[in-house]
Symmetry: C2
Subunit: 300 residues, 2 copies
């Protein structure tokens, strides 16, 4: 089996993936982009992590494009992506767990006021605030895919009052009106792009907080800043941004009510993800069913 491995990872990260994939799929020969261009007829599958646009065209034997990342919005944006080849997202249990951990950390921080305590520490201010019980905090989870479900389950286990929403489900506005904390775990599609805008923030109760762990383009940055500055929103935890790395001059960096994370809420774990990818590659080449196929029309 000849597999193209290409993406935007650094040298160390590429090495970790190569090692994990070699263990999970010892029968494969791995090609880089130059190798694939030299022998395009040989490439039977591709394992990719935001590959450079164009790198998957002109490979006539390609049977599967397996993404190492869960989000495939950038991959699908490549207009040269071969139309007839199935694309699979990564669904890695270790990454789902990492996402649920980050979401839980953000909820605990917001519920118990630990971001405020960090601000007060910088001013040497000793002041405790009131303590609410977990079941008095309403958390709305947007998105009911693998990560949304793992996150909702983790929060329920901790006693929070959890509401879920998905794009084709019940109307959003009534749920927003009851949400103290909103966690965004939606896929980025034409339908969800820019969903977190001024109208969205205005539908929340005063002093609500948002946690964006999905994609930067879900948020209208100027509307978010206005909602924070007016005091309508209490805090925003942001892991994803319209431009990444977040440009040094962006107001999010130094905003006292914004927590910036460097797209680190859930990093795919090569040890478990390589096993998932290997199973899919074997299935594809044997003509069997492939897991976590992307619906290109739907966008995820």
């Amino acid at each position: 089996m000849n597999v193209l491995l290409c993406g935007d990872f650094g040298a160390d990260e590429r090495l970790r993936w190569q090692r994990a994939l070699a263990v999970a799929l010892p029968e494969a020969k791995w090609l880089d982009e130059a190798g694939a261009r030299a022998r395009p007829d040989a490439v039977q599958a591709a394992v990719v992590a935001n590959p450079p646009p164009g790198s998957l065209q002109g490979l006539p034997q390609l049977r599967l494009i397996q993404s190492l990342w869960a989000g495939v919005d950038r991959l699908l944006d490549d207009s040269t992506l071969p139309a007839g080849v199935p694309v699979a997202r990564m669904v890695d249990p270790a990454m789902n767990a990492a996402m649920a951990e980050t979401a839980l950390w953000a909820v605990l921080s917001l519920h118990r006021g630990f971001f405020e305590y960090a601000r007060r520490q910088r001013e040497a201010q000793w002041l405790a605030h009131k303590q609410r019980r977990a079941n008095e905090v309403n958390v709305l989870v947007l998105g009911q895919g693998q990560m949304g479900r793992a996150t909702a389950a983790r929060l329920l286990q901790q006693g929070y009052t959890v509401m879920g929403w998905k794009r084709d489900g019940a109307p959003l506005t009534p749920l927003l009106g009851r949400a103290h904390i909103v966690i965004n775990l939606l896929p980025l599609t034409p339908d969800t792009r820019g969903l977190l805008d001024a109208a969205f923030f205005a539908a929340l109760p005063p002093k609500a907080a948002i946690v964006n762990l999905a994609r930067g383009a879900h948020v209208i940055d100027a509307d978010l800043l206005a909602a924070l500055d007016s005091g309508r929103l209490r805090h925003a935890v942001l892991d994803v941004f319209r431009a990444e790395p977040l440009p040094g001059e962006h107001p999010f960096w130094l905003h006292p009510r914004v927590t910036v994370l460097p797209h680190a809420a859930a990093i795919t774990d090569p040890r478990s993800a390589a096993t998932v990818a290997a199973a899919n590659l074997r299935a594809a080449l044997a003509g069997q069913a492939v897991a976590h196929l992307v619906d290109r029309q739907r966008g995820y």
Copy 2:
């Protein structure tokens, strides 16, 4: 039933307790310190929260001293505390849950590096670090009382590798050698005072972290600062201090590797604690068994 209510709470806090206690124990008449001094023979029980030293002496009919706080070290330090009267600690399920939440938040923050991300945000530095799985993080919980057990259970539920220790249990040093994170939930007694000293920190693996949610006097501050400054300890989360409020000039406030909380890890919840106190007061006056009695010899 005539009950003395006294302690170090502010006016608002006192009012919340009075309301909750009036609901839980409608048959009681509540006296303040002046009322008790005016009619010492009338006082049958006392509900206290770090009462001023001497305030419980000379009350010949006193049948129970019920603390509203879980820690009774300051109460027992009062040499005028009447010797023959039983003392009960507060064991409030809502407070145990709050303590477990704070411990879990601290562990998630340390495990996933969120304190480092906060430091990097202030420098507009975009840099993700490696992601470990929860079961790769060894957490040592010191203390196996109500709060230690609630915390250990919460961490186990999240997949952490949890070790427990109590004062009269297995030797501590071998456990310290494997601990990435130590959470202190011990009672303060002559045996545990100053336990977290230079030798304790030296027994930890490099880059370990400590979380002190018990009492400030468990820690030798100078030894902790030295261990942080040498890089042996990665971070300390401190909710309790030798002097509280923490004095404005104390080096903990601005130390980049110290998170200061204003003794807010777990605040007794009047709604549930008043019910616990009421049950104990009724039992004491009916000559029945009282729960959560303090062993004055042991110190908790």
